[in-house]
């Protein structure tokens, strides 16, 4: 079948989709967007989290056909979908922004790098989409709110402490940006 949808702001058309294919499969294998990850493919780990219209979903549980005519945001689209990080993407020590690509990052992505929230990184894309979704709804979440919002995303490496740090850091930088009218 043919599926038409918008992905990260761009209209996309995919042909020869088998009806059993998930949105995750189509993103990864047919659209060249492997950022959404395939850790469990049964909705338990959150590694494949994307926004479907404005709702956070596990793309492994969405049949590709269900995305017909809808808007999908993946980790690859985060930089364009979030408030620009501008000069706030470096930490006070000046030690962040280790390479030249940091200008392309959303604030939550930069915060994950700076806080040490990335180890193997397999859970990272899903966590970024979920954390960004939280911060869009609540710019200053409590720790309990962060834990609740990210409870659908498994991480096996970090013990989550640095992930909490990253979300707090992104929230604090967002607050700084708002205070400075940025």
């Amino acid at each position: 079948m043919r599926v038409n949808l918008r992905v990260n702001g761009r209209p996309r058309q995919v042909d020869d989709v088998w009806e059993g294919e998930s949105l995750l499969y189509v993103l990864r294998e047919r659209m060249g967007l492997p950022g959404s990850k395939n850790a469990c493919e049964q909705g338990e780990c959150g590694s494949c989290s994307v926004r479907l219209d404005d709702v956070l979903v596990c793309s492994c549980l969405v049949a590709a056909g269900q995305a017909e005519g809808r808007e999908v945001l993946t980790v690859e689209g985060l930089p364009g979908a979030s408030a620009p990080s501008s000069a706030l993407s470096s930490d006070p020590s000046g030690d962040s922004s280790e390479d030249d690509r940091s200008g392309e990052l959303a604030p939550i992505q930069q915060a994950f790098i700076d806080a040490g929230a990335v180890q193997c990184g397999f859970c990272t894309p899903g966590l970024l989409v979920a954390a960004d979704d939280l911060l869009r709804r609540d710019s200053d979440p409590s720790d309990a709110d962060i834990r609740e919002a990210l409870s659908g995303n498994l991480c096996r490496c970090t013990g989550y402490e640095k992930i909490l740090d990253a979300v707090r850091l992104a929230a604090a930088r967002g607050e700084t940006r708002r205070r400075e009218g940025g």
């Binding site: 590694s47 180890q119 990184g121 992930i163």
Partner: protein
């Protein structure tokens, strides 16, 4: 799209003039991992590639009486179907013993054993074709425990054993037996004022790395194959794969693709040989990606254990003797069971001194799933039991459990029960003191929200099972000892190739190793070492592959020590060569060339007083300096078969935990409120990464304490191969994890460092269970602790 997508690329990281050893430099791969561009093994794509699929046995023990591939081969879109009879060369592989068939050899030895392979043009086509393979089984009763494995007339899992351990085991279904004996246990017993004897049990834990087993095999024009895989040790994979393919090693080239966690579960082969067989058979690239269900069958697990300990102590609280029997279930194939047995035996006393020790560890062959490496590697199982014992003995003596541990704590200079002196800092008592002195989390935090209880701070969480009634707090402590590096005489080396050159006026160092970056941050540390040793800002990390010598395994907490040591060694050789070139060219212009200590700094050769003598650009004049060198840590010795004596280990690492839990005693629900850790790391090369390792290990220990277990049914079939039924800690299950890092240098190790990856995994589990015991008053001799163990229902 054409060509190959997602093959590893080199990563260049600059860092101003800093970013050396001891700084919390950020990961060079961090940006790619947050943008989604970092290519994991399951992200690989090749033009014209096929998808491989594995048919697995539905029984734990059976004979295959008939196998017919015809219907599968007739499926449109199917390119190959292979079974045991199609294997072209060596039929078996294995990490320590070559006892595991590449495909089932006619006798199924565990549930999920690979029986046949399919390659097709769509993963669903491959799955459906596999379902059309006809296999008829004659199902046999499985061997599931020690009694069954060693009973008279027990079926032998491997009747034709001829491995090195075979002459030393009491039964052919015992992979290895290792005693560790010292002193006189009877004399100790005679002196004991109290003796505590207890059985313990540890369930089968899974590594549950998030990136499923995956890879891509691409047939090459020279008849060889290029493999892009996620593994922990490229060269040991190649050693096992090449004979299976019937190819010389130089025609089997491996490159590391992105690895989504490992924790021991990628030490053994999974899809590597299978994908290569399909690729060579079809002449097409073949990708294989396990789903989560298959992943639970695709790698070994942590050995479940049945353990008996006897501890004795004087009235004053000194250990008189420790006797133990540790039975580790290795399942159907050996994997790394022999080494796990060695660890359990040699570390089974824990981080204590005791003159009279009698420990026996054995590893079994059964029809349960194969077990092998997982973070903590034999030391985890023992630590749960000996730390539970330490609490019981302290209680018998009416002593404080922390003080009782401190009274018996080993220190630098202590002897291990193997007779090995501990010749670097062993701050066991200090780690306990530190973790105990951390501030306690406030009581009844669910009330802090103001009106009503914040359910999220209560056992049961948003399930709304309690508002605080029946909730009891408990606090528990534990400490553990883990070896670092490969032990028992293994030639445990690594290799690094380092190049220094001037590019566009800037000095650039390039580091090439075969180290598997599995998330631990080795690539970060390699760049830091190069900056420190060569005084450069720009460091390029080459992708890990078999074009450079072996780095050894990313396991045993060893890579920063051993491959870090190799990188430093190669950097030092490059530096010496650069200085020598400088002396030849410019030595006559300044006396400091001959007299001063010279360093590389900021692209210049400088004296240790900071005086610049020459620019690297002028010294090198466009010619790079490159060295590839092997580096070894101090040799270790085998343990003797009878008394387990010998300098078996390279280095020891220590961590202590304090767990604070709240238990809903009515429903048996546990909330871990805080899990604090103090660990000695010798020298934190990257403090941010060190803390991340400690917190990650701590959380896996929490999982073993109260959540994680692969459950088998009476037929030895896995009942819970999914993240729905095998639960690992979520962010709601994981409490704040404060960490106190101690840095007491080990003078034998590069920069004084101590391997950091595993120690926190050990003591986390017994600390949590000790806290639950304090809250409930229950004995709790088995992990994971389940609600029914707390309610008695």
């Amino acid at each position: 799209m054409t060509g190959t997508v997602g093959v590893p690329t080199r990563i260049t990281q600059g860092s101003g003039t800093k970013g050396g050893v001891g700084e919390s430099t950020l990961r060079p791969d961090g940006t790619l991992k947050t943008t989604g561009e970092f290519a994991y093994a399951s992200d690989l794509w090749h033009e014209d590639m096929l998808w491989g699929h594995t048919l697995r046995a539905p029984h734990a023990h059976a004979l295959i009486t008939r196998i017919d591939l015809t219907d599968a081969l007739l499926q449109p879109g199917v390119y190959a179907v292979l079974a045991y009879a199609d294997l072209p060369a060596a039929k078996r592989y294995g990490l320590e013993l070559r006892d595991q068939p590449v495909l089932c050899d006619g006798r199924v030895r565990f549930h999920g054993e690979p029986v046949a392979l399919v390659a097709a043009d769509h993963p669903e086509t491959a799955r459906r074709a596999a379902a059309k393979i006809v296999v008829e089984y004659d199902v046999l009763p499985p061997v599931t425990d020690e009694a069954a494995a060693t009973a008279p007339g027990a079926p032998l899992l491997h009747p034709d054993r001829d491995d090195d351990h075979a002459p030393h085991v009491p039964h052919p279904n015992i992979v290895r037996r290792q005693p560790v004996r010292r002193g006189d246990i009877e004399a100790g017993r005679a002196r004991a004022a109290v003796i505590v004897r207890q059985d313990y049990e540890v369930g089968m834990q899974d590594q549950a790395f998030l990136g499923p087993e995956s890879g891509l095999a691409v047939p090459a024009d020279d008849g060889g194959v290029d493999l892009y895989v996620s593994t922990q040790w490229l060269h040991v994979d190649r050693e096992q794969i090449a004979p299976v393919l019937g190819l010389p090693e130089d025609k089997v080239r491996l490159a590391l693709s992105g690895v989504g966690g490992a924790f021991g579960g990628r030490e053994d082969l999974s899809m590597q040989a299978h994908a290569a067989l399909l690729a060579l058979h079809t002449g097409k690239p073949v990708k294989m990606v396990y789903n989560r269900y298959e992943s639970f069958f695709g790698h070994v697990h942590r050995h479940p254990a049945r353990i008996t300990y006897e501890h004795g102590a004087t009235r004053e609280g000194k250990l008189t003797h420790v006797a133990a029997r540790i039975v580790l279930d290795g399942g159907a194939y050996a994997s790394s069971t022999p080494a796990v047995v060695g660890n359990a035996a040699s570390l089974g006393l824990g981080p204590y001194t005791c003159e009279n020790v009698d420990i026996e560890a054995i590893g079994l062959y059964t029809n349960n799933p194969p077990c092998g490496a997982m973070r903590g590697f034999g030391a985890v199982q023992a630590c749960f039991a000996y730390e539970s014992q330490m609490d019981r003995v302290a209680a018998e003596l009416h002593l404080d459990p922390v003080e009782f541990r401190q009274l018996n704590a080993m220190e630098q200079g202590s002897l291990m029960p193997t007779g090995q002196p501990v010749d670097s800092p062993a701050p066991v008592a200090e780690l306990l003191r530190r973790v105990r002195s951390m501030p306690m989390p406030p009581e009844r935090q669910w009330e802090s929200a103001g009106e009503g209880a914040d359910l999220r701070a209560l056992p049961g969480g948003l399930s709304n099972t309690t508002h605080g009634e029946g909730v009891v707090r408990g606090v528990g402590y534990a400490v553990g000892i883990k070896n670092v590096g490969f032990s028992e005489g293994f030639d445990d080396y690594s290799t690094a190739r380092v190049r220094l050159e001037v590019v566009g006026g800037e000095p650039v160092a390039t580091v090439h190793t075969a180290m598997a970056e599995v998330g631990q941050g080795g690539v970060t540390v390699h760049a830091q070492i190069a900056r420190t040793e060569l005084g450069v800002a720009q460091v390029t990390i080459q992708p890990a592959d078999t074009a450079v010598g072996s780095a050894g395994s990313t396991s045993a907490s060893r890579q920063t020590y051993v491959t870090g040591g190799a990188v430093r060694h190669a950097c030092q050789a490059v530096r010496a060569e650069v200085l020598e070139i400088g002396r030849r060219k410019f030595g006559s212009y300044h006396p400091a060339w001959a007299t001063a200590e010279l360093l590389l700094e900021g692209g210049k050769i400088v004296t240790d007083g900071g005086e610049a003598l020459a620019d690297l650009a002028d010294v090198l004049e466009g010619d790079p300096v490159e060295r590839e060198l092997e580096w070894r840590h101090r040799p270790t010795q085998a343990l003797d078969h009878e008394r387990g004596q010998g300098n078996g280990h390279v280095q020891y690492s220590f961590a202590a935990h304090r767990a604070v839990v709240e238990v809903d005693t009515d429903l048996g629900l546990v909330k871990v409120v805080e899990l604090a850790c103090a660990q000695d790391v010798g020298k934190a090369l990257n403090p941010l990464s060190v803390v991340g390792q400690i917190q990650g290990g701590t959380t896996q220990g929490l999982g073993l304490a109260v959540m994680e277990e692969i459950v088998l049914d009476p037929e030895a079939k896995v009942r819970n191969p999914s993240f729905t039924d095998y639960l690992i800690p979520t962010i709601l299950d994981t409490p704040p994890l404060p960490v106190d890092v101690l840095e007491l240098a080990d003078s034998h190790a590069p920069y004084g460092l101590r391997g950091v990856g595993e120690a926190s995994t050990l003591s986390s589990t017994p600390a949590v269970v000790a806290a639950v015991r304090q809250a409930t008053g229950l004995a709790l001799t088995r992990v994971p602790v389940r609600p029914e163990h707390l309610t008695g229902t």
